[in-house]
């Protein structure tokens, strides 16, 4: 079993490498995987400048494609880990930063700062901080609202999430309505996308995500305990209140880091841990590392789809994940109800 889980993680890493190489190669100027590898080796100082590859190809690769794909990796990992944390804390497989309104909270915070400062749509410490503040408030709020008794009921969680998210989105709508010419760009940002963000966005979100994922990885065993319920976890030796604060905070941080550079992208945090549970089981020692990698893969592929399906036009990547995730969510909901009845 453990051996198989090791193989799964190895397989996922290989799949991520493959997805990245394919994704950076696809576009109006196709780049062959072999050229990509040679250019990367050159950039890392491992090999000589590859002959026969035009200078423009290197620019496209390193200034456009790689940052975009890197951002996909960062955002995907952030959303997947955030979803995994929330699912363990809420003891509920339907939890996802977008579904429970945390992403909306982050978006509201970010938009408020963007409008107030007339600043750019991505990056910027103020934007990240505001997104984080919004996400944290919603995460703790929904947790309090949804938690009746020892476990968070699916219905209460979803209803609390829906209520909070709709209040937030109406506030966002009001802000947007009064935002004048920025409305269109804010709208597209809200739909979620990795386009034209560049290295700045990676630099803005990457470190936060690395820190968040690292903290989450250190909490793996406690995540297992809290999945049994707060009281049981305490009986088994977990300092529950402190743990809850940390992991709700980290979940919110990861969601905010993703939202502040890529807008609201739903369902990655829902689907990734769910599918992985079927493969590696519920133990977070295996689930969480796999989620980091699988979330990145899912995001890179979804973004690839977003920019190729109707190329040269792009569709927002949030629409792609929703297209996949919506039916998946409904399937889960049906299965949950079945499980409750059984």
């Amino acid at each position: 079993m453990n051996r198989r889980r090791g193989l799964v993680l190895g397989g996922l890493l290989l799949a991520l490498a493959a997805a990245v190489i394919v994704a950076v190669g696809v576009g109006t100027v196709p780049i062959r995987p072999w050229d990509t590898l040679r250019l990367v080796a050159w950039k890392l100082g491992l090999a000589a400048r590859p002959v026969g590859v035009p200078e423009s190809t290197a620019v496209i690769l390193f200034e456009l494609r790689v940052p975009r794909v890197a951002l996909g990796v960062v955002v995907g990992a952030a959303l997947a880990v955030s979803g995994t944390l929330f699912q363990a804390l809420f003891r509920n497989p339907m939890a996802d930063p977008a579904i429970i309104g945390v992403s909306s909270g982050a978006a509201l915070g970010a938009i408020a700062v963007i409008l107030a400062t007339g600043g750019a749509l991505s990056g910027g410490l103020a934007v990240s901080a505001a997104a984080f503040a919004g996400a944290v408030v919603v995460a703790f709020g929904v947790y309090r609202l949804a938690r009746i008794g020892p476990a968070v009921q699916v219905a209460t969680l979803l209803l609390a999430g829906i209520a909070v998210a709709s209040v937030l989105s109406s506030v966002i709508t009001m802000l947007m309505a009064s935002s004048g010419e920025q409305i269109r760009s804010i709208y597209f940002w809200l739909l979620g996308g990795l386009q034209a963000r560049g290295w700045d966005a990676v630099a803005a979100s990457g470190p936060l995500v690395v820190v968040g994922v690292a903290v989450a990885l250190l909490e793996i065993r406690d995540l297992n305990l809290v999945s049994l319920g707060e009281e049981r976890a305490a009986q088994l030796g977990l300092e529950v209140e402190r743990f809850k604060r940390t992991s709700l905070g980290v979940g919110a941080l990861l969601a905010a880091a993703a939202v502040s550079v890529a807008g609201v992208i739903g369902f990655v945090g829902l689907m990734t841990p769910h599918i992985l549970r079927l493969v590696v089981g519920a133990d977070h020692r295996h689930l969480l590392p796999a989620s980091v990698v699988a979330g990145a893969i899912l995001m890179v592929l979804a973004d690839l789809a977003a920019r190729t399906i109707v190329a040269p036009e792009e569709i927002p990547v949030g629409a792609v994940t929703a297209l996949l995730g919506g039916p998946f969510f409904l399937y889960l909901l049906r299965r949950q109800r079945g499980a409750v009845r059984a």
Binding site: L228, E231, Q235, A282
Partner: protein, 425 residues
């Protein structure tokens, strides 16, 4: 067996076990526990009983560091769990909760291993020793064959045993069980309680177990503590705690309590209570019983409204106890004595006044042969007799044929029936 495992977490010389002193606790509003004093020593299995809402689960929560008492002190293995970290406390006290809610799809082994959390270094996984203990606990709880199964797909009873295994491998000197047998079938109830008792005896654990089933509590605990309205109303050996008056006051039931024939522990019999007999105008019926054969007949006749008399009975025999509880007019002689001439005379007189005499198929020996002789006399004087015969006369004749002979003479003059229902017909 018989070895005791040294426990490094116990402060040297400190009193082990569980001790609550003057504990008052609740959830806001009126306190649920009011001034509770309770001690469970190592090697002791103490049963906590009491009606719904009496505070049993609250007491378990207080003792397990889940609910800080408003006043009073809690002491597990010599330490106050509320000043310790959750991790440290979990090494001193383990809990088996009432129900095991669904997880996110862990395997049984993974769930059991989580019981070792408090013993592991903060970031370390379980080592071979932890796996060994987890396997050992699973074997004790009878769930080793479920190790790789998804706990959410196990039955309620299997899941309860997985959680028991989880608590067992926590290796704490104090073990609290909140209704540990609710979802278990009788086979597993017996097995689990035996595991717990062995653990207490061989590993010096102090065990406090909440029970709803009073007979189970009585049979499996050396000491019972009864809670009612948040106070301890009784604390002692089962026969001192489980009494008719306790059942009446705490649970509001009129139940019978008998000492178990083999263990002497109190046995509670619930169900419609035996009410003292009140005549409702039907004719008199006399019952000749013995060795408990008359009890159901007396009860059925009394409930139907007959004015029931009984005799001759031997004191302390079940039939004598039942006749007394039904408050019947009766004739009694000392236990195991022969029925003397005077009692026999009175009995015949009692039979004469009855519209019908029911003779039950008791075993007959020299001690009660006079009952048959009295019945024969009454029958010959024309009193209606019903013979209840489920066991052939010969098989319960301990008089060398005399009883069978009398029975057959009676049968010639009586209606012979095979069931209690026919007696009433």
């Amino acid at each position: 067996m018989g070895r005791s495992v040294p426990d490094g977490s116990r402060a040297p010389g400190a009193p082990a076990g569980l001790r609550l002193r003057a504990v008052t606790a609740g959830y806001g509003g009126a306190p649920v526990l009011r001034g509770v004093d309770l001690t469970v020593r190592p090697r002791e299995v103490v049963g906590l009983i009491g009606p719904n809402g009496s505070g049993k689960t609250t007491l378990v929560r207080v003792a397990s560091r889940a609910l800080r008492p408003r006043s009073g002190s809690v002491d597990v293995a010599g330490r106050d769990p509320y000043v310790l970290s959750a991790r440290h406390a979990a090494r001193l006290v383990a809990v088996v909760p009432q129900d095991a809610p669904a997880t996110l799809g862990f395997t049984a082994l993974e769930v059991v291993l989580m019981g070792r959390s408090a013993h592991l270094s903060p970031w370390g996984g379980g080592g071979p020793e932890d796996y060994r203990r987890a396997r050992e606990a699973m074997e004790a709880a009878g769930v080793h064959h479920l190790a790789d199964r998804d706990v959410d797909r196990l039955s309620g009873g299997e899941r309860q045993r997985v959680v028991l295994a989880q608590a067992l491998c926590q290796d704490a000197p104090v073990l609290l069980l909140d209704e540990p047998t609710t979802h278990l079938d009788p086979g597993h109830v017996v097995a689990i309680l035996e595991v717990v008792r062995t653990l207490a005896r061989d590993r010096d654990r102090a065990v406090l177990a909440v029970f709803h089933d009073l007979n189970l509590a009585s049979a499996s605990c050396d000491r019972l503590v009864a809670l009612d309205g948040g106070r301890i109303v009784a604390d002692g050996p089962p026969d001192e705690v489980i009494t008719r008056s306790f059942l009446h006051e705490a649970y509001g039931v009129e139940a019978d309590v008998y000492p178990h024939a083999v263990t002497g522990r109190p046995v509670v019999v619930l169900g419609p209570p035996l009410r003292p007999f009140r005549a409702r105008g039907l004719p008199r019926a006399h019952v000749v019983g013995g060795a408990g054969r008359g009890a159901p007949v007396m009860r059925a006749l009394a409930e139907a409204g007959y004015e029931v008399t009984a005799g001759v009975l031997h004191a302390t025999d079940t039939d004598a106890v039942v006749a007394e509880r039904l408050n019947l007019e009766r004739i009694t002689v000392p236990p195991f004595s022969e029925i003397d001439a005077q009692a026999a005379q009175e009995c015949v007189a009692m039979m004469r006044r009855a519209a019908v005499v029911v003779v039950c198929d008791a075993p007959y020996g020299p001690g009660n042969l006079a009952n048959l002789e009295a019945a024969v006399r009454a029958a010959e004087e024309g009193v209606a007799v019903v013979l209840l015969e489920q066991v052939p006369a010969r098989e319960r004749d301990f008089t060398g044929g005399r009883a069978t002979e009398l029975w057959e003479r009676l049968a010639g003059r009586a209606r012979v029936v095979r069931s209690f229902e026919e007696v009433l017909a």
